[in-house]
Structures are given as C-alpha cells and as structure tokens.
C-alpha cells in the first residue's frame, strides 16, 4: 500500500489541521475538508505508524486535516469568506470590512488615509480603535500622530484577500493594542490558481491595473501581486495615485513544519479637497464637490499663478512589511508557531478644516497664514508573536480542554510632528508638536477553551501587556515668543501594565442554537501629547477653568475599554443559514474624538455604548448568497447629569446593510460554460449626531456589480452610489471662517461637509491565464 499525506488546497495549512480529540480521518482516495467559519487552527497528531499491511490492491490513504469546533469568542466572531467579501462591489480592501455584520467603512478620503469604520456605536476615525492584522503582523500604529491605533489596510490588494476574521468586542486574549471595539484579521491567499491580469477604467479617469501570479503547483498561500491605481477624482482636488506589491510564499518544510513568508510595499499620493460649509453649499456659493479657492493652493518653485498651483491639502503614505511565520505540529497534537515581522511606515498629511482662525503660539504677533495642519509620522517597528497550544486533553468523559499560551513583542521608533504651515510654500509658521518616541509592548496571555458535557463551552483567559514609552518632546521648555535657536526639549518615560481578562460562555441549547455571553477588557495606547503634558489622559472637567485644574498625576500609558454582550447564534440548513442577535454594552474610559482645532484626534472623557446588532447570512442555493445586518445603538459621554444626553459625535444610531449575490452558469457555448455574477449592496446609515442638537440626514448607499466570464476572459461592470445621491461621508459642526473672497473672513459656526463620491461606474477586463 502506498501511504502518504496530502494537504488540502484551498483551506490553507493552518486552517486545515484536525484535532485528534475530534478524530483524525483516514479516507481512502478522498479528501474532504470542512472549515468552520471562525476557528483558530488546532493541531493534530499524525496517525500512528501502522503495521505492514497485508497484501491487497493499492489504496491511496489521505490524511485529512480539518478544524476543531473551537468556541467562537463572542457573537461577533465571524470569518467572512471571499464569496461574501465580493458579493457587492468594493474598491478598497478596507471596504471589505463592510461585509461583516455591523460594520460600515466609508470612502471619503481616497488613497493614503485610513478609512473611517463604523461598528457597534463607534466612529473609528482612520481605523483607530479596531485592531487590524495581516497574518500575525499588526497594522495599527499605537501612537500615530493622526490618532492612536491609526490603521490603513489599503496596502493589501483586495484580490488577494482570502478571508477576514472579525471579532467584535475584546473577548479573546489574543487581541492586543487598539482592540477597543474589536479586531479584523486579514488572511491572504489566491484560491484561483494561475495568472491574472486585470484592467479597470471608469468615471473620473479612474484607472487600475492588477497582476497576480499564483502558480498552480503552489498552495493557495503562494502568490505575487501588484496593483497600480490612478484617478483624477470626483470634483476638485481629489486626484490620487497608488502602487502596491503583495507577495507571499507558503511551503511545507516537512510533514510537521510549515513556513510562510510575506512581503508588502505600498505608496500613495493623494490630493484632498477639504471641507465645504453647509451654508455656502445651500446658498450656491460653492459646489458640493468643490474646494475653497483660498488657503488651499500650493505654489511650487517658479510658479506664481493659479494655473500652475497645486492642491495644498493632501496625503502621502508608504508602508513596507517583511514577515515570516513558522508553525510546527507535534506528534502529540501540540502546536507551536513563531512569527517575526518588520514594518516601516511613512505618513504625511496636510489638511485645513477651519480656514484661518489660528494664531501662532510660538510667534504670537504673527498674522494667521491659514490653518493648514501638517502631520508627519515615520515609524520603524519590529516584533514577534509566538504561541504554543498544548495537545487537547480529555478529562473523564465530560470535558475536552485545549489550552494555549502566547507572547508578543512590538518595539518601535517614531519621529512625529504637527505643525501649521503656509499653504503657499509649506513653510511652517507654528510648531505644535514634535516628538521622538520609543515604544515597547511586551505581552503574554493564557487561553483555555473547554467543552463540558458536549454542550457547554467555556473559553477565555487573561492577557497582560507591559507598555513602556519614552518620549523626547523636542518643543518642551520653549516659551513664546521664541528667540532664534531656542529649541530645548525634554524626555519623558511612562510605563504601565494593561491587564485584560476575557471570556465567553456558550451553551448548545438545541441543535444549531446557542445562547452566548461574553465579557472582556481591552486597551489602547495614549498619544504622546497626553503623556508629556500631563502624563495622563487629557481629560478635563467641563466647566472648570484651566487655572483651577488640579495638578496632573503620573498616569498609565493606556486607556481601557470594557465590553459585554449577550445573545444567541443559530445555524440551520446544514450551515447554509446563520443568524445572530446580540445586545452589547461598551464602556470606554477615555474617548477619542476628532478635533478640528488641533488637526487630529484628541482624547476626552469616558463614554458608554449600548445597542443591539443582528445578522443573517443565507446560502439557500449554491448560486445565491444573501447577507444582512442591522445594528441600533447609542453612544453618549458619561460627563453630564442625569436626564441630559450628550452624544459622541458622528456615531449613527442605526446601520443596516444588505448584500445579495447570484452567480453561476448562464448558458453554454459548445461545451464551455458561460458564467455570470450579479450583486448589490445597500447601506442605510441614520441618526448620526453632528452634535447634541443636529442630526445628519440618513445616507442611502446602493452599489451594484455584474460580470460575465467565458473561458479565461471575464468582463465586469461595477457601479457605486447607483442612486446618484449627494451625501456626506463626514459632517462636523464647528467654527470656521472659510471664504470665497481673499483675506481673513468673519468666523461663524456651521456644519462642515466632506462629500462622499457621486455615482461612479467602472468597467473591468480580467484575463485568467
């Protein structure tokens, strides 16, 4: 008999390992794998060598590795597969998160800036507040100048995203810094093997080229891909271009060891239009998609006229990642993994929100030169994640227990600054922040996943992160007005521990029906400004003058969040229909809000989210997928007396999403099938508080796609904002003095709008070779 082991393509090694506690299968001549939607990998013992078989006809024996029924960490622990991710059109990788229940990702900023993410009562500016990883590489930048935990995942080429595991809430000890509202873990792979070339062209001169090499002889994990994109942008000052390279190589070193290498590089350069005031739009003084004519133009060298001027507002971002992942499955069923990584990021943004209200702090007699905030953040970071999962243990006949312990290390060195610069020449006219940071996050966790009496699942553990931050404040000690060469500086060191107990309890009440209760505590790093000014969060009591504030006390470098949820999960129709319903509450110790006056995110007081989120995913036939999710929530600060609401701005009271996709064979030409796909995605966002008194109008967003494929040629058509509605991706109420006339205009408070894209059509030709 010929005996060999064969790994199942399409599931990936880590997702395709079968725990012996649930039985390894030896299936002659047949390999079948079932991948549970949310499960981490579980190692398996190889079958014990058997005695020489008696003579018989040759039989191929295949060891099948599947995934053990790990306990999902909460009701929002879901693996979104590629079919769901691509059910409706999504231009960027970040937008793929909208396929997960309760998520909505906007598209206001184009290239280079992390998208805003709405989830469970949070408006996560530029991704801050949701932990994101590609493989084991953390994408968030803990102390980014634009906001703690800033994350931009658009360096990942959408075509190579195989699945995304989302965890809503902090209920898993593996979740680290920035997991305020949850995590999104990107799994890369190309199931359709071969070579792909894709060209897209459409509205506003948008052009995109993608190439993917995924050799058929290699596993799904192995590919090399590039993407180039350029657009003139809708309206004024929205041109952008980007380039991205993603390459991954997965190889079995032997039957027990697997190595995966990942390298990515990304660069983006985009102009930004800034805001428009609602009163100017209503009066017809400026168009919805326009940009103000003054304080928004940069005049390069040898240019002095508007004809050669360029947009002053914009963003430039780049990122390089190199990572490895070695895992080992022991004979005993234990599993070990180690994953080192290196990352370099460079970020520069220039944005003006208020016109020219600001005065120079360092040179107070200087006239305002425009409120153009220039933010820079350059970080070099490296780290490693290692975990060991012991072999599953059976206790008596009633308990099955799996334990895992792990460590992670992240070290980073950052140079960051925040200045006010003259839009005409980008010369700084006021320095507001200038820091050198050295950060260390050393974490350890222990996790236990137990199934008791076959029906009761108890999962959870404890995590502790030791964080150490050393801050060189290069502007410390400078007293305005500054004499020439007066830079002094200071160094601050802050260290602290962020403990995080987390757990989930689930009970299999009936076949396919499980009530679930979860609780946990997460954290995120604080910003350098808070730590140097006060060595504590910049929380100030409303109504207390600055001169009467108590002296600052040394604080922790982190702020915490506590989450609770309870609900049920129902799986019916042999897994074809999944329904969840969860009530949740999240208590944030230190809110993070966008602040136009400082050109970025600032910390504020504590807040509370409460709400309900329900989801449905159905595959009634093999050609139809329907996914829908509705979340209803409130988000309020905790700072006021009873009976007076104070809403966290920009949090929608309701988010409803529906995706539907039909795909399959349309007809045959000869013996060759012609296949097609049609899909729609609809989002309703309502009840978003601009402030306590102003609620933004609801947004209706409808997107659609259609494609036809014959042999190796596919032609597709995507349309975004099918209804052609003018709606705002972002609305803020504050004082500005934007003017359509030169000079410093009168200031007044008003709603300011950042427009979402109008109707956008894109045609795509794909060749599969």
């Amino acid at each position: 008999m010929r005996r060999r082991q064969r790994r199942i393509r399409g599931c990936g090694r880590r997702a395709a390992q079968l725990a012996p506690v649930f039985g390894a299968l030896l299936v002659p001549g047949l390999a079948v794998a079932q991948v549970a939607p949310t499960q981490p990998p579980v190692p398996v013992a190889a079958p014990a060598p058997s005695a020489p078989p008696p003579p018989q006809p040759t039989v191929e024996t295949v060891q099948v590795r599947g995934v053990a029924p790990y306990t999902p960490r909460g009701l929002g622990d879901i693996r979104v597969d590629r079919e769901t991710l691509t059910a409706s059109p999504r231009q960027q990788t970040s937008e793929m998160l909208s396929a997960a229940p309760g998520f909505f990702v906007d598209h206001e900023d184009g290239e280079g800036l992390g998208n805003d993410v709405y989830l469970r009562g949070f408006d996560l500016d530029n991704g801050s507040g949701i932990e994101m990883k590609v493989g084991d590489v953390p994408i968030n930048i803990p102390m980014h100048i634009h906001g703690q935990g800033y994350a931009d995942v658009n360096f990942i080429i959408p075509e190579v995203v195989r699945s995304i595991r989302v965890l809503e809430g902090a209920y898993d000890p593996r979740q680290g810094d920035a997991a305020i509202v949850g995590s999104a873990l990107f799994d890369l792979g190309v199931p359709e093997r071969g070579y792909q070339f894709k060209a897209t062209y459409g509205s506003f001169g948008q052009a995109r080229i993608v190439g993917i090499a995924a050799p058929k002889e290699a596993s799904d994990e192995t590919f090399a891909a590039f993407a180039l994109r350029e657009t003139q942008g809708f309206g004024e000052d929205r041109a952008s271009k980007s380039a991205s390279v993603n390459a991954q190589y997965g190889v079995d070193i032997n039957d027990r060891d697997h190595l995966r290498l990942l390298a990515t590089a990304y660069a983006a350069d985009a102009a930004l239009p800034g805001v428009v005031r609602q009163d100017d739009v209503n009066a017809g003084r400026i168009g919805y998609y326009d940009a103000y004519p003054y304080l928004t133009s940069y005049f390069p060298e040898n240019c002095s006229s508007p004809s050669c001027a360029k947009p002053a507002q914009g963003v430039q971002a780049s990122r390089v990642i190199v990572a490895g992942d070695l895992d080992h499955a022991a004979d005993t069923g234990a599993f070990f993994e180690i994953a080192p990584w290196f990352m370099w990021t460079n970020f520069l943004s220039r944005q003006n929100y208020t016109g020219n209200l600001n005065s120079s702090n360092l040179q107070p007699s200087l006239q305002s030169l425009g409120d153009l905030w220039q933010l820079t953040n350059i970080e070099t970071a490296a780290g490693v994640t290692a975990r060991f999962r012991a072999a599953p243990v059976r206790v008596g006949g009633f308990a099955e227990i799996m334990t895992e312990s792990g460590v992670s290390l992240r070290v980073g060195s950052t140079a960051q600054s925040k200045d006010l610069v003259n839009p005409a020449d980008f010369d700084p006219w006021d320095y507001r922040e200038n820091y050198g940071l050295r950060t260390l996050d050393l974490a350890g966790y222990v996790d236990v996943d137990a199934r008791l009496w076959k029906k009761l699942h108890v999962a959870g553990g404890v995590r502790a992160d030791f964080l150490d931050v050393s801050i060189d404040n290069n502007l410390a000690g400078i007293v305005p007005p500054i004499p020439a060469g007066a830079l002094q500086g200071s160094t601050t060191s802050v260290a602290g521990i962020a403990p995080g107990p987390r757990g989930t309890l689930a009970y299999d009440l009936a076949p396919g029906l499980s009530p679930v209760v979860s609780a946990g505590e997460g954290f995120r790093s604080l910003d350098a400004g808070s730590l140097t000014l006060c060595n504590a969060p910049t929380i100030r009591l409303t109504g207390v003058p600055a001169s009467e504030e108590a002296p600052c006390k040394p604080g922790s470098p982190v702020s915490t969040v506590t989450s609770f949820e309870a609900g049920f999960r129902s799986v019916a129709g042999a897994g074809r229909f999944t329904t969840t319903l969860a009530a949740f509450q999240t208590n944030v110790a230190n809110e993070l809000v966008f602040e136009v006056a400082s050109g970025g995110l600032e910390t504020e007081n504590a807040s509370t989210r409460r709400g309900i989120v329900g989801s449905f995913l159905g595959r009634p036939t093999n050609w139809l997928l329907v996914s829908s999710a509705l979340s209803v929530q409130t988000a309020t600060f905790n700072t006021l007396v009873a009976g007076t609401s104070h809403y966290v701005p920009n949090v929608p009271a309701m988010v409803w999403r529906v995706d539907a996709n039909a795909h399959g064979e349309l007809f045959r030409l000869g013996d060759v099938p012609v296949t097609g796909r049609v899909g729609v995605g609809y989002t309703l966002i309502g009840g978003k508080h601009v402030n306590d008194n102003i609620i933004a109008p609801p947004n209706n967003v409808l997107n659609g796609l259609a494609s036809v494929r014959y042999l190796f040629v596919e032609v597709g058509f995507d349309m975004h904002n099918v209804l052609g509605l003018k709606y705002a991706d972002d609305e803020e109420y504050y004082v500005s003095n934007w003017s359509l006339q030169p000079g410093q205009g009168r200031a007044s408070p008003m709603v300011h709008i950042v427009a979402a894209p109008p109707r956008t059509s894109l045609g795509t030709l794909t060749l599969y070779l």
């Binding site: 109504g543 207390v544 003058p545 600055a546 009467e548 602040e595 006056a597 400082s598 200031a747 408070p749």
Partner: protein, 146 residues
C-alpha cells in the same frame, strides 16, 4: 436675562455649566498666548480662537494716537445650545479680568484669564476706548471658542 460669569468657579457651578453646556467638540482646556497691537483704525488681529475652559495670556500694545483697550462682550448661547435645560443662563460672558482698560498711546498691558465654558460660539470683542465706537475696525473683533 440671567448673565453668567465663569471666573467664580466652585464645584456646584462647574456642575451647572457641565449640565447646561455640553462641550460641542469634546475638547477643552489648554494654554494660549496672543500678542496684539491696536491703532486708531483697528486691531492687528480681529479673530482669536481658543478652546473653552482654556487659559489665555494676551498682550496688547497701543500703537495709535488715542487711548484704546480690549473688551470681550457677552453673547447669546442660543446658536450653539438651542435647547437649553430650564434654569440655564442664555447669555455667556468672559470673566472680568479679560478686560484691558484703555491704554495710553505707546502703553502695553498683559492679562491672563480663563475662557468660559459655552463653546461653538463667537464672542465679539472691541477696543472700548472713549472715541472708538464709530470705528469699525475697533468694534468687529471675534473671539471664537471651539
């Protein structure tokens, strides 16, 4: 019409302001420095912007030929707080120590004061000199609290 003055302080008063005037942008506090000059036609800056509940140090130098000062006027909170709870003052003022009485030509003065709690509002400021009421540039200043 009730008028509030923020410089009194005290826990109960702070609680009242917190209840009446929730912060519009979620941020308050900080330290700001302004250096202004004033002459017979106007201020060198007629637009000042800070956070609420912040500490301001302001220096004014009279470069004109007549006496000029600095005075921030009270204003209605209605634009930013249209649904005030009962009992909340409808007008807001800067504290009394935010005023510079008219300075003689060539004179200079520096004051330090705290900005009031209601934000998202623009408080007008003027010179307040005896001959300044008819000069637009000495009466059209804006102090914006964000």
């Amino acid at each position: 019409m009730p008028i509030i003055s923020i410089d009194a302080g005290g826990d109960s008063e702070a609680a009242l302001y917190a209840a009446c005037y929730p912060d519009n942008d979620g941020i308050n506090g900080g330290q700001y420095t302004f250096v202004l000059t004033v002459d017979d036609t106007g201020f060198s800056k007629n637009l000042l912007a800070t956070q609420n509940d912040a500490q301001v140090t302001l220096t004014l130098t009279n470069m004109g030929t007549k006496p000029h000062g600095f005075e921030i006027e009270c204003t209605s909170v209605a634009p930013a707080y249209p649904d005030l709870p009962a009992g909340c003052p409808t007008m807001a003022c800067f504290p009394s120590n935010s005023t510079i009485t008219p300075l003689a030509p060539g004179a200079s003065a520096t004051i330090t004061f705290d900005t009031p709690t209601p934000d998202g509002i623009i408080y007008p400021f003027k010179s307040g000199g005896p001959d300044d009421s008819a000069v637009p540039g000495l009466n059209d200043g804006q102090f914006s609290l964000m």
